[in-house]
Symmetry: C5
Subunit: 359 residues, 5 copies
């Protein structure tokens, strides 16, 4: 059940909300299931922070240009008119706006004339793995961010701005952009940690008692790691561009922070590939344990046959109806036959012990 939901996220949705094939570039079609956008403005300078929930997009004009940094934070993409008005207000290219709504973009950086458009994917692993597109527009004195859902991963950034710790209020919108990207990237670590723990648990379980249901679990885990990988790999290139390429809107001083971001992504990918290697190893462990299991079953079968066939033959022989079978008249004929049977059995058991089949 939970599986299905997970998979439909990965397989199906990439297309369900897409504009129809062949529609004009920049056609905006909103996913009807998407939550209505809520807009919150946070404007600050070194001394002061102003925060306000906004209903009318035009109200943002009050802040823009009056503060060194105005952060417009949009959660939910379910109202086309709001998105369009924001696009007009911030003078955003139609193609970029299309990408904001078609929430299946790969992480990327795109430079437009008067803003820089950054796409990253925030990940989450509660019951199942899920990822969400986060779009960030960095302008001269604003940051405009779009989230699919009201998520909590930007809360630490909000808190830092409020408290004015470190460079959080003295630096410009480029630093805020860095902080947002960094917050998203930091969210990958707990997800990885949970995969790491799950791997360890599974490994111990498989070695102690292999069973078919582990196969499905490994398969599902690899499924999840594959999806995580799809989100993380392009993030590497994205942060690399942010840190290396000369983007006018990003201050040189900020690069050392973005390099740190890039470092984290490399570390994430490193761990990810490690887990993928280990999950492959786990699959091998599983397959090998199944193989061993078959081997063991066949061994038991062989031993059972080997123990019962010789006595059965002996019993058959003394069940023959020949007129002249001296043993049949012996007083100890019956015990003798039983001893014979036991002897054969003992020989067989010794033979298999010598072969190492008798565990």
């Amino acid at each position: 059940m939970s599986r299905k939901t997970n998979k439909s996220r990965i397989h199906t949705s990439p297309f369900s909300r897409r504009s129809l094939p062949g529609s004009a570039p920049g056609t905006l079609i909103v996913d009807p299931g998407s939550p209505k956008p809520s807009i919150r403005v946070m404007a600050y300078d070194q001394n002061k922070v102003v925060e306000k929930d906004i209903n009318d997009v035009q109200a943002i004009k009050e802040y823009l240009g009056k503060w060194p940094v105005t952060w417009v934070r949009v959660c939910g993409l379910g109202d086309l008119s709001v998105i369009t008005k924001l696009g007009e207000l911030f003078n955003i290219h139609r193609l970029a706006l299309e990408d904001v709504i078609n929430v299946h973009q790969r992480p990327k950086v795109e430079q437009y004339k008067n803003h820089c458009y950054i796409v990253v994917r925030a990940v989450r692993l509660q019951e199942e793995f899920a990822s969400e597109q986060v779009s960030i527009f960095l302008g001269k004195n604003f940051v405009l961010s779009f989230q699919e859902q009201p998520g909590r991963y930007f809360d630490p950034v909000v808190d830092r701005v409020r408290e004015g710790k470190g460079r959080s209020r003295t630096a410009g919108p480029d630093h805020l952009t860095y902080a947002l990207v960094d917050a998203v990237i930091d969210g990958y670590f707990p997800v990885l940690e949970r995969y790491g723990e799950a791997l360890e648990t599974l490994e111990d379980a498989i070695i102690s008692q292999p069973s078919g249901r582990f196969f499905e679990q490994i398969h599902e885990m690899r499924h999840g790691l594959l999806a995580l990988r799809r989100a993380a790999w392009p993030l590497r290139e994205t942060t690399n561009i942010l840190y290396r390429e000369p983007i006018p809107l990003i201050d040189a001083e900020e690069r050392v922070y973005l390099r740190d971001c890039y470092d984290h992504v490399v570390q994430i990918i490193d761990l990810l590939e490690n887990y993928r290697d280990e999950s492959s190893g786990l699959m091998e462990v599983y397959l090998s344990s199944i193989s061993n299991r078959t081997n063991e079953v066949v061994k038991v079968l062989t031993i059972i046959s080997a123990i019962f066939l010789p006595p059965t033959l002996i019993a058959g022989i003394y069940g023959m109806n020949f007129a002249h079978m001296p043993e049949l008249k012996w007083l100890i004929g019956y015990p003798f036959s039983i001893v014979l049977m036991i002897m054969f059995t003992v020989v067989m058991v010794y033979y298999f012990k010598a072969k190492g089949w008798w565990s």
Copy 2:
């Protein structure tokens, strides 16, 4: 049956229509099975659109140079004289013309003196996967496109030009070329979507009840994904060249659109590789389930042997003809032997339950 047709498309045709080995470069040999070409001209400026079906190639001259953009759309490649005349009219290099007819080119961009030649492959998945070569010549004031079959994938572009939405009529032939390439690329998404759904269905089916026929289905799916991959990978390089390299006939302003095209191709390849990984995973699931199945069969065999061999031995023993076998005279000898048999069976069953073999 449907399979065969599919495969013959992939395996055999690349050669069936090729010019003979060693023939002169630029030799044009038309595939006799190809439909006769139908030509439709669409000429437009900002204010007006003219559309006309053309029988005589010379009639195109009326439009060329008189309109900012003249789109000559050819469907079907089955008449050599028509193709040759078009080649002469638009001054197209023999080698490029040869590639138009030999419809097994990899997607590519080639720059000639006065035109730019673009090859892409349109894909389709109805009963089976099929791909078709689309050749586009971009000139100073014309676009000349060749399709193998009358397909509907250019219809949205036609509609947009007719309605004059967005930049569709204000921009030059480079924008039309972009629109055509974009329309072809958009056609990949529904195909991918169907593979995605098929993967999901197959996965559920295999896990719930594995059977040999799934193997063939996975194999066929991988076959199709392989063919799709052959079409999509070179498309990546093609769109990358269009967007990055300075092609004189393409306006700088158009690049942001071509970058979007490139983005889509990257997304297609990303999904494609994802599906390929998942289909490999599916194969593993299948093979593992077969392995489990053998294991289970052997287990049943072992259990049957283990249950029947001991009682059979006991029956054999009391079937021996020894003169002196006290049990045979016992009044409860017969029930005693039956109880003995049942006891052995019960012990065996317990043993296998302890081993976890008795499901």
Copy 3:
């Protein structure tokens, strides 16, 4: 039998004709089994073609420099003195001459002071796959080509020169060189086609009735594809160099033709890799079918045991010699026991049908 010959071509010959390890660079040692060289000169300008079989190398001097293009075509490498004289006449570097005779070079382009040396491999698949080294020297006004065997793959080029079609006589020796390389490359397509057909036939055969002999066939096919790959991959780099790098002896106008050559090689490699992927898939199909087969055999074994063991036990029980067995005295004892046996068998059959093992 035919297999061996094939393999000895691939494995053994690379060394059998090599000069001894440590011999001086440029040492020429002729393979005694190689046919004696036959030399044919073809000189032409726009108006006229002269062809002549030559016995004495010195006779070539008559043509060199007097015609815009003189093509000296050597078939067979079995006479050292002839090769050496040709080397002297055309002023060819000793190392290049050594490579002409050691016919196991990888395709390559090497520029020397006054000529350009091109090695390609011509392929053939009659009973078995075989490849042959073709050496081409391109000079200012000559082309000197060496073939191991008198092969027919240059015939279309000869015919075109004779008929003077297209650019074949107006262009210089660089065009002739292109034509020769193109003729060799065109020869790869029929070979690929045959592999494609063989793959298809094999696939159908394996799916309908798997058997061990298919394994050998797949193995042999992969063997052949591997050998073909060894010939084709370096050809890619070779044609790429010819088309991209500024080689003084090759006219800029010729590049568009060489780009076409390169395109063909890329297409060949594309198909080749496709076939290799498919042959791997075939191997999987085969292995999976063997696995299924074992599974089926074990199932039959299980069913036979399950059907015969219970009646055998019943027969054993009524074969016991207890003095007090009421059934033995029953009038319907015998039919009763038979019915009992049949009942058990029917139960077993139903059980296996329910499990889906009874096909």
Copy 4:
């Protein structure tokens, strides 16, 4: 048991000491389990060496700038205030300081304004594989090194400085940095050597008597090699940067030594990949031996059945109660039946010998 510890090092710890997701960049959170830092200063010039254990960070000021090289060696990261004071004293960037404490960095080189920050990982294989982060700051006249644990791998460097051998005292802090990195890299060789020996031992053991427990050993070894690989690969890039890129603080003369370092890392990776290949080969050996084993068990089962079924049938036949069975009255009937049984058995044995199943 020991396994668990090993694994928890690899899986779990990367996150356990990490600062919380979303915390401000440069937030320093000390791992409470980390040992308290001990600081030792070693200052030297060509003539003299001074060594002292330091409790108060300020005492370092006495040495800095007064000696050509001052090496401040910190073992243990368990006291935030000490680390912070060192950071202030040496003017170290907050992000670099964060990386010192978050001991799960990949090896890297980072250049800051007035120092160069190098991270490497020291490895150890006693009962289990473990790695430790070593941070080295190279400044104009100082080297500041941080180790997680008091380890002995820097002892040879200390000794060489004390004895003033070679260039150890005449060269600057760049040479000391080289010596430290080299000492860490040298520590990889004994670890590799132990893996090499273990591989050899395992291989012999598996071939002579395969068993399921080897599987776990191979799996664990691959686990370890994977972890070693994660430490070694980025070290390659790190040393490559040190040796190739123009870092102002590193003298040109020192490069030849750093190239040697790089060479060693390449050699380590070479061996590592070799061992990984061999461990894969070992897995194949193991799986093949299991396969052989199953084969052998099934063969024994077949032989047992084949030997006992025919005599059992014969005994059954002569146990039938037909009134008219002439053999039953024969005087030699009984021995005749036994001979018949033996004959069948002998025929079977010969048959299996001919098939090569009777080893």
Copy 5:
């Protein structure tokens, strides 16, 4: 036995002679098992050759600078003082000298101020695969070569110099260096040839009669190919550097020869990878044949059971002791039962023939 020696070469020795971890760079520790060095000087100009065995290193001074080329050939590395004196005489960097003695370097080229240091590995396959480090120092008028053992692979070079064939005496020390490297590379071909032959023999043997011992042979062959690969791959980069990079001590004219060297290495690697692919294919053949074998064994088991179980049941039925069994009184009861048994057997045999199991 021979195996062990082989493996110890590959696994163990890389470390046994290494200087201790952490020892100073350039520390020279001689392997006590290494043979004592023998030195032979060969000095020549165009007209004359002088050869002499040298005991005292100082005696070399007589030749150095007096002849255009002085080749000092050292065989054996077992005497530290001799090596050190040579190092001083030729002014060789300590690190290079360390590499000469630590005979486990990867092939490489290193340029020092007044000499160029080249490491290559000579290979040999007699009973087992072995490789040996060859160090070559190229100076302005000298070549200094170090071999681990007195090997014969330089003999052809010596002979050519003595006879003054070709450029062997007219060219400078760069040509001699080329000749030495070429001689070492030529030594790879016979080794490859032996692997090629072994592959062919093994393949035929496995197909005709698979057995477990082939597995070990394939495994050992792959082991050897892996070791050969480790020697050959870096050789490729080494020769590429020699031929492409501008090394002052190597004349431009010599490059065409070094390109030939590089070509040979590429050819070696090509063959090597080919053999590795084929050995993987062989492994597949082997595993598939084992799989087939198990299949066959199980089939025989099934057939035996199927043939003997029904008659055994019939015999059991007529062995029952019912008072009323009419058949028992029949005169033809006994032959009737035998016919019944045979009938069942025939039916079974037909069934299995129809299934294709009866070969």
